[in-house]
């Protein structure tokens, strides 16, 4: 499940209720491509991004003989709908995806159009995107998608007022973080807010510790499904760091039932009941909408995830969602026009400018001056610098891995955080799940 896109919708449960029936109900195959004469574009519902996209579609349609038609979906049903439609006559021409393992399964099934030759004809477009972000949709040396939304790194947020009252500074290293945990516990403040009812919030810690301790190669091996990849010592060490935080009381005792769906963890940070919160960059928007005074009063602080002394990974590496992508379905009627639409739109000044205008941070080069004039200039500039300087931007594991391994890691990391599994048991369970 992706970070921001994970907020589960009640609508998604229509699919859940029909689970037993649908298992048997799908599976047609045939030529891909839209049933109508329009270019079918599928994307998730978003009240902020979709109007920007719609404007660019209207602009494209005004000058093109083939029109683009946008259809929107809610997160969980979208995954199911796409899975069923791909390879059927009802497949879209352009589809939203998360890169990583989600995109890889469609690429493996031969259903995604490589964009390399088109990009070679438009070198300016390829050069405009940040390389670490573009890499998220590259598989086997070919480019299968282009960034369509903003960068979403995961960072450590903190409550400046709580820190000032305790005379503390935000942590730069793991030992400093542990010292802060002890300090805030003495002050009867839960050190770190954690929405542990969902596994992906806990996974953030495991991912960062693995990266800091073992470097990106450890995760590359997991994604490539190398035998024994989960048994790498760095993963076990990362799991031990997670357990150490839990046992030290870093998250208090309530975290297993705190849900991310109702922004409970964000409220704990804003009200000063917790001092810190490690979350994706969308936390900023969440705070703006749920606790506006907390942000406007400059009480919300942010720093990169702490380094781990002695670790092999670069402390400048970032984990999160590099961006979301648009990809073109192979073998459809409109491959050429669909590709043209993406090349014309996604790197254009009009699209980038409008995305910055709604608070997104597009993964393109040289937009710092534009970000500096945006509404959330401080935070946007911080994120942009963080990602620009990052040697590696690791896509969240639950998206980078195959869907079944991604589901397994979300469950097993939850078991690790409530001590149903110890670090060795976690490694064993993931080794068995692949």
């Amino acid at each position: 499940m992706t970070m921001r896109m994970t907020r589960r919708s009640v609508l998604g449960l229509a699919g859940a209720a029909a689970a037993g029936v649908t298992v048997a109900g799908c599976g047609t195959s045939g030529p891909a491509g839209g049933g109508s004469d329009a270019i079918q574009l599928w994307v998730l519902q978003s009240d902020t991004e979709n109007p920007v996209l719609k404007k660019r579609i209207d602009a494209f349609n005004a000058s093109s003989s083939v029109k683009v038609k946008m259809t929107t979906y809610v997160n969980d049903p979208y995954k199911q709908k796409l899975q069923v439609a791909m390879g059927s006559p009802n497949a879209p021409d352009i589809f939203f995806n998360w890169g990583g393992g989600n995109l890889a399964q469609f690429v493996d099934a031969g259903q995604v159009q490589p964009l390399d030759s088109a990009l070679a004809d438009h070198p300016a477009v390829a050069k405009s995107f940040l390389p670490s972000v573009l890499a998220g949709a590259a598989l086997g040396g070919k480019q299968y998608g282009l960034p369509m939304s903003g960068i979403q790194p995961e960072v450590l947020f903190y409550n400046k007022k709580v820190f000032a009252a305790a005379g503390a500074k935000p942590p730069t290293s793991y030992p400093e973080l542990l010292a802060l945990v002890d300090l805030f516990k003495r002050k009867k403040i839960t050190p770190i807010a954690l929405a542990g009812a969902q596994g992906w919030t806990e996974l953030i810690y495991l991912m960062y510790f693995t990266d800091r301790i073992g470097g990106p190669e450890v995760v590359d091996a997991l994604v490539a499904k190398k035998p024994g990849a989960w048994r790498h010592p760095a993963i076990r060490a990362a799991a031990e760091h997670c357990v150490q935080l839990v046992e030290r009381g870093a998250f208090g005792t309530n975290y297993p039932s705190v849900s991310s769906d109702n922004q409970a963890a964000s409220k704990l940070l804003a009200t000063g009941k917790c001092a810190m919160h490690v979350m994706g960059s969308w936390e900023y928007q969440t705070q703006v909408s749920s606790s506006p005074k907390f942000v406007s009063g400059h009480q919300l602080g942010w720093v990169p995830f702490p380094s781990v002394p002695g670790g092999k990974g670069d402390a400048k590496n970032v984990v999160g969602v590099p961006t979301n992508y648009f990809s073109v379905v192979k073998g459809g009627k409109h491959v050429r026009q669909a590709t043209k639409f993406l090349l014309d739109t996604l790197a254009s000044d009009a699209y980038i400018g409008a995305m910055i205008g709604i608070g997104e941070i597009p993964p393109v080069n040289g937009i710092k001056s534009k970000l500096a004039t945006s509404k959330a200039a401080d935070f946007a500039t911080f994120c942009y610098d963080l990602v620009s300087a990052a040697p590696h931007f690791q896509l969240a594991w639950d998206q980078a891995l195959s869907p079944s391994a991604g589901a397994a890691v979300n469950t097993n990391v939850q078991k690790l955080f409530v001590k149903q599994l110890d670090p060795a048991g976690f490694v064993k369970a993931m080794d068995a799940a692949g």
């Binding site: 689970a19 298992v23 048997a24 109900g25 599976g27 899975q83 309530n254 975290y255 109702n262 079944s404």
Partner: protein, 273 residues
Amino acid sequence: MFALLPIVVVAYLSLTAWNGLGAPHWAGLANWRALVHDTEVPHGIRITLLLTVVSWVVQTPLALLLGVWSAGPQRHRAVLSAVFFLPLLLSLAAIALSWQALLDPNFGAPAALANALHIPSPNLIGDPHRALYVVVAVLAWQWVPFHTLIYQGAARQIPTQLYEAAALDGATRVRQFVAVTLPQLRHTVVASSVLMIVGSLTYFETILLLTGGGPGDATEVLPLHMYRTGFVGFDMGYASALALLLVVVGAGLSVLIVRASGFARMDSDREGL
């Protein structure tokens, strides 16, 4: 046909490897071998059975007593009954999400109460040892009205002359309940129990929304494991094997409850009626 055809298709799919894309590949018995080694399966069965048994133990006496009580004639009972039946009118999703908000450890009702009393707030759905019983309580809140309605209807069918006769013999209210009401309701108890037990095997929406199977896998019932495998992990072949297992367990349990139910042998006091 409508029941059998999907089962046959699911049986076929359980012998394939299929992620929902393209055509399923023949995999032989690989999914079934995986089923044997999947530790989530015995765990899921254990949680499912525990949930079923505890739910039955909690819901049946409550529904029986409430149903018999509300079958009485007084007016205030009709008003109270209408209040009891309210949860029946709410959608499953609304119930689960309301309870989730209500039980929120930081902003929910237990936290507010604990703050008022200056005691640490209880962690109800976040404790792996407690979460299942919270689920049982929410399920009971949701389903007791339905079964109460069934018992109310059945209790109203019992002829009043049986109670009059018992009263003439000097039977107390409790004695009347044990000797007259309970035996007269035996078929209703069996029917309600079958509905309850088969229902607890399939109604997983409440768990999905309330705890998502967590914390960890503390409330991960078998249907939830199947749903995750199929629609989060997109492993349709293995999910089909799990679905078939669920069909077998469900059918077996409902046969068992009818067969083994002591109520089927209990004789009626209602000779000739």
